[in-house]
């Protein structure tokens, strides 16, 4: 039994060592051999395109479109600014290069990682190192543990790191967001970007995952994909504003959920109805829902029941009055059209 345990530890240690060698080599190539300086050209090109589109719509007088484009351009320029700042810090750092991490350094990091985190998986064939974090709880909302998968053959690429929620808690209307700073399994690192790069450059894998976990455990209210206050809010189907549960109303005709500003009601039955499911009576101009409208709706001048009733009553009253006033006999009874398509005849 003891021999089996010893054999198991040695096997595992050799495996860990092999991974450490591969990881150290990948880090050396990514950070110490290939020191290409990449300018954020893609972001600049996008900003330039947005500026051109903004100028076009502005010259045509499309104010709303111009506002929207200006906002997008602002975000793009802010992101470009962040990228340039990171590049500046990287260039300053390259002035005093650090030694590449050795396989022994990385091996010690892997050992420490297994002590720091409850579950660590190393998959040398797929070049992936997976760490499961603690449960992430922000302001009482439990996002569950996250699986952080670092791909050491994709360093600096888009596929380098994935943050997958193991017990996803998504906002009501965003399938792609599982954390205020995670969209489509991509963590937006924010102020963690530089320390993360530094940690990898030095081969400090334990620091790398610790920084990632702390970033997940921190809420930045100035820049989330979805604010925590809105996490369980729903959006009005009409104006798309978020609304509290107490402000929600559903249209009895189509079932859509609307806010108190967008919900209306039928003037006949007073049921909560969205404006799309209401039509105005051509006579009284009140909004009537489909259930209370005459069959076929308000086409060809057909009016609502209330107006029709009033009309019928009016006709009856008029007919009675005229009969009283004129005193005509049945033979010479004047043909009176009381309303379109109808002729009153004496009994």
């Amino acid at each position: 039994m003891e021999r089996e345990r010893k054999s198991e530890r040695e096997t595992f240690s050799r495996r860990r060592w092999r991974c450490a060698v591969r990881i150290a080599r990948a880090l050396t190539i990514a950070f110490h051999e290939r020191q290409q300086v990449l300018l954020p050209e893609r972001w600049f090109q996008q900003a330039r395109d947005l500026a051109a589109r903004h100028e076009l719509v502005r010259s045509r007088g499309w104010a709303a479109a111009a506002d929207q484009l200006r906002w997008q351009l602002l975000l793009r320029v802010q992101w470009l600014q962040t990228e340039l700042k990171l590049l500046q810090q990287t260039l300053q750092m390259l002035q005093t290069p650090m030694p590449a991490p050795s396989a022994a350094d990385v091996y010690r990091e892997l050992v420490a990682l297994e002590q720091e985190f409850e579950r660590v998986d190393i998959a040398p064939q797929s070049t992936r190192l997976t760490v499961i974090t603690e449960r992430i709880i922000l302001r009482g909302i439990d996002f569950g543990p996250f699986e952080l998968v670092w791909n050491w053959s994709a360093i600096s690429g888009e596929d380098e790191l994935r943050a997958r929620a193991l017990e996803p808690c998504r906002p009501n209307d965003r399938e792609d967001v599982t954390h205020p700073h995670v969209q489509d399994h991509q963590l937006c690192e924010g102020e963690a970007s530089l320390p993360l790069e530094q940690a990898l450059r030095s081969g400090r894998l334990c620091d790398y995952f610790a920084i990632l976990q702390q970033t997940l455990k921190t809420y930045n209210p100035s820049s989330p994909y979805v604010h925590l206050e809105d996490w369980f809010s729903r959006r009005c189907s009409s104006c798309n504003d978020t609304m509290d549960e107490c402000d929600e109303s559903d249209c009895h005709a189509c079932g859509e959920i609307l806010c108190c500003d967008c919900i209306a009601c039928c003037a006949e039955c007073h049921a909560s109805t969205c404006r799309s499911c209401l039509d105005a009576c051509p006579e009284c101009h009140r909004d009537i829902c489909a259930s209370c409208q005459p069959e076929g709706g308000f086409c060809r001048g057909v009016c609502c029941d209330s107006c029709q009733t009033a009309k019928d009553q009016n006709e009856t009253d008029t007919a009675d009055d005229e009969e009283k006033d004129s005193g005509t006999d049945a033979a010479g009874a004047a043909v009176q059209s009381v309303c379109l398509g109808e002729v009153g005849v004496p009994a």
């Binding site: 997008q72 975000l75 793009r76 802010q78 992101w79 962040t82 810090q89 750092m93 650090m98 010690r108 990091e109 050992v111 420490a112 002590q115 720091e116 205020p180 700073h181 969209q183 991509q186 963590l187 937006c188 690192e189 924010g190 102020e191 963690a192 530089l194 320390p195 993360l196 790069e197 530094q198 940690a199 030095s202 400090r204 334990c206 620091d207 610790a210 920084i211 702390q214 970033t215 997940l216 455990k217 921190t218 809420y219 930045n220 820049s223 989330p224 994909y225």
Partner: protein
């Protein structure tokens, strides 16, 4: 290289440690410290008014007591508990 407490007598033995501050740049630096410097003393000297409970402090990759003494060649890292992420990237259409 940064020297701690220049008012100490020159005959006090010194030790060299690697200090990694993951707050901000995440840069590493070698420090010369008097023998017997504790983790808390190092924190107070390097992190100013910050509170130790706001940081994960590791010595040689292991959690450590606040009054633990540092030794020659130790590696000390300090990682803030609060690191703010963002949502800066726009979704490309």
């Amino acid at each position: 290289m940064c020297v701690l407490a220049s008012t100490l007598p020159s005959k006090v033995p010194w030790m060299r440690i690697l200090f990694i501050n993951n707050d901000g740049g995440g840069f590493a630096d070698y420090l010369e410290l008097p023998d017997g410097t504790t983790v808390t003393q190092l924190f107070q000297q390097r992190m100013g008014q910050a509170r130790a409970q706001d940081y994960l402090i590791r010595v040689n990759r292991q959690p450590t007591a606040a009054d633990a003494e540092l030794h020659e060649g130790d590696r000390v890292s300090m990682t803030p508990v609060k690191i703010e992420g963002a949502s800066g990237r726009l979704v490309e259409g």
